[in-house]
Symmetry: C2
Subunit: 348 residues, 2 copies
């Protein structure tokens, strides 16, 4: 057991008092100061440095739809975060170690050693914020979706939605590295350019400019083998009848419906699913931990060799959390890649 340094008396944390029944409003989250408890054996005190802002957090806030993943009311909102251990009552996690927890949206947190990952184990020699981008949930979600769920093969045609987002920007690049022909969709012309020119997609389209059937017919006249879907909504509905035989849809999110009543799926004729032997599969990356070591090894190699970038946008300060969450839910928002909040650790 190791103890060191000055101990903060209070933590500041964003709290959700009530699960949502309508769209997220700025005052649904409340910043609260809370006295930090003394550590129990097996616990560490973490000072957060980077926090991931994830559209799926909105789903966990939803009274009607969150189910088993709902945030507990009246408690600090969980978010993936990288922080430094300030005080330790856990064997093998020394003070100064960088760790990833689900204890973001707060400056200081008490974490159990069995519910955290050590950043060095994830990122090796790379900067720690990679544990929230290419070597964290976004990279693992894209890798697992394309490799395990969709079994993407070289030469296949891949569609990626939200292709300028935290997960989509990595799925585009992984698809390209796997030898697929990659089509991306995004919500602004700037992002469309960025997806092709910077991320290497073969083509991309602005889903605000036209209904999705037209660009899919134009850019993939022979149909799609794999759709990496993290939006749901009209693009998913347009993709289903345009899948080729034995097509696979890896579905990791439906952000288009998170801040409304949900994203419906309307397939005119379910016979398409049999006639083309389609698979539509939802997944959560935490259910695939057994394959993370192999995924991380490949992702780290790509990063180290310069084949993969970890796009992200950084905003500063705990106060920026509510606006950042609204931003990742807003169609056509201007940030690119993963949105991270960097913490203002000067707060007393």
């Amino acid at each position: 057991m190791t103890r060191t340094g000055e101990r903060p008396v209070v933590a500041h944390e964003w709290v959700l008092d009530r699960l949502l029944e309508g769209p997220l409003r700025p005052d649904d989250l409340r910043l609260r100061a809370r006295e930090l408890p003394a550590l129990q054996p097996g616990e560490v005190l973490v000072r957060n440095e980077f926090m991931a802002v994830d559209p799926a957090m909105r789903l966990r806030m939803d009274r009607r739809r969150a189910g088993r993943l709902a945030y507990p009311e009246g408690e600090a909102v969980g978010a993936k975060a990288v922080g430094t251990v300030q005080e330790s009552a856990a064997d093998g996690i020394p003070v100064g170690a960088r760790v990833v927890t689900f204890l973001g949206f707060r400056d200081f947190a008490v974490a159990r050693a069995d519910a955290l990952d050590v950043v060095d184990d994830l990122v090796g020699d790379l900067p720690p914020e990679n544990a929230l981008t290419a070597l964290g949930n976004p990279g693992l979600t894209a890798w697992v979706g394309l490799t395990v769920i969709a079994d993407l093969q070289a030469g296949e045609t891949l569609l990626v939605s939200s292709a300028a987002g935290g997960i989509g920007s990595l799925a585009v690049q992984i698809g390209r590295l796997r030898g697929a022909r990659v089509i991306g969709s995004a919500g602004t012309e700037d992002k469309v350019r960025w997806i092709t020119e910077e991320l290497g997609a073969d083509s991309a389209f602005d889903y605000h400019a036209e209904s999705p059937g037209a660009p899919l017919d134009r850019l993939a006249p022979d149909g799609l083998d794999v759709y990496f879907d993290n939006t749901g909504g009209p693009l998913l509905e347009a993709a289903v009848p345009r899948m080729r035989r034995l097509g696979r849809i890896a579905h990791c999110g439906s952000v288009s419906g998170y801040d409304g009543g949900g994203s419906p799926l309307r397939i005119d004729d379910v016979a398409q699913i049999v006639l083309n032997s389609l698979t539509l599969r939802g997944y959560i990356v935490d259910e695939h931990r057994a394959i993370w070591p192999r995924a991380l090894e490949e992702l780290r190699t790509w990063l180290a060799e310069g084949h993969l970038r970890a796009p992200h946008t950084v905003v500063d300060g705990l106060d920026s959390v509510p606006e950042a969450l609204a931003d990742v839910l807003r169609p056509g928002a201007t940030h690119r890649g993963k949105l991270l909040v960097r913490l203002d650790v000067a707060r007393p």
Copy 2:
């Protein structure tokens, strides 16, 4: 090369002159006499004895929806059939051999040796019509769907639609043999009784008597692990939000929409698919030929030991084909298990 016996001069066959654009009508199929050609090397002449009447035939007749599986217009309708080789120009297929072809809905047919299965290889010592029921497409479709597509485990809760039908009646029994808790749906009270009393389902319900959400909530209050779906329609829509975490839907047909404009699928909120990590997978049993030997071995053993029955209903005569096809498309039809047409080989 072997030749023998009297050679018929003409075959009688049911022909579809035009793909359908509306519901099937009695005169859409036309019985035609056709002179049989001389055999080419590698061909055999088959006299059909049993023909399978399959709801999916209707889908192949549909101009708008059949896609790559559409029947060629103006030709005899293909159906799985067991027949006896009358004349052979193929090595290894002697006269008198029983074979399965896709050349049903006719009395005599010329088959290529590389497009048939030898009945003995499928059924062993069991009666040949098993090649169209438990040891043919219905049994293989049920076995592949539950074993490969859905990976059904002992103790899980399984829903089977069309549970009194040709495929469903086998899926119920295979589910039970795998140790699952089995719920069946059917369209008459008589069938509901038969599914539980004769096939061994734990429970069953009449989908005409109430909307499907109510019986599912009553019979599976903790939700469904696997749904073996060959109907689509309202039961599929009711099942999706009632699937447990990591639930699997094996989808081999959507008979509820075959004779109409198709079976729509309307999911209120596709987030259910991610939140519960659901898989919806369509498949065609012919795509899984590599695993047929293992499936047939297990199915044959169950049949031989009396653990599995091969339910079927027989109607006689080539003239009964159109009514038999209408019957398998009719909700609440009274036949049980697979519907077979036994051929009137006395036809001149």
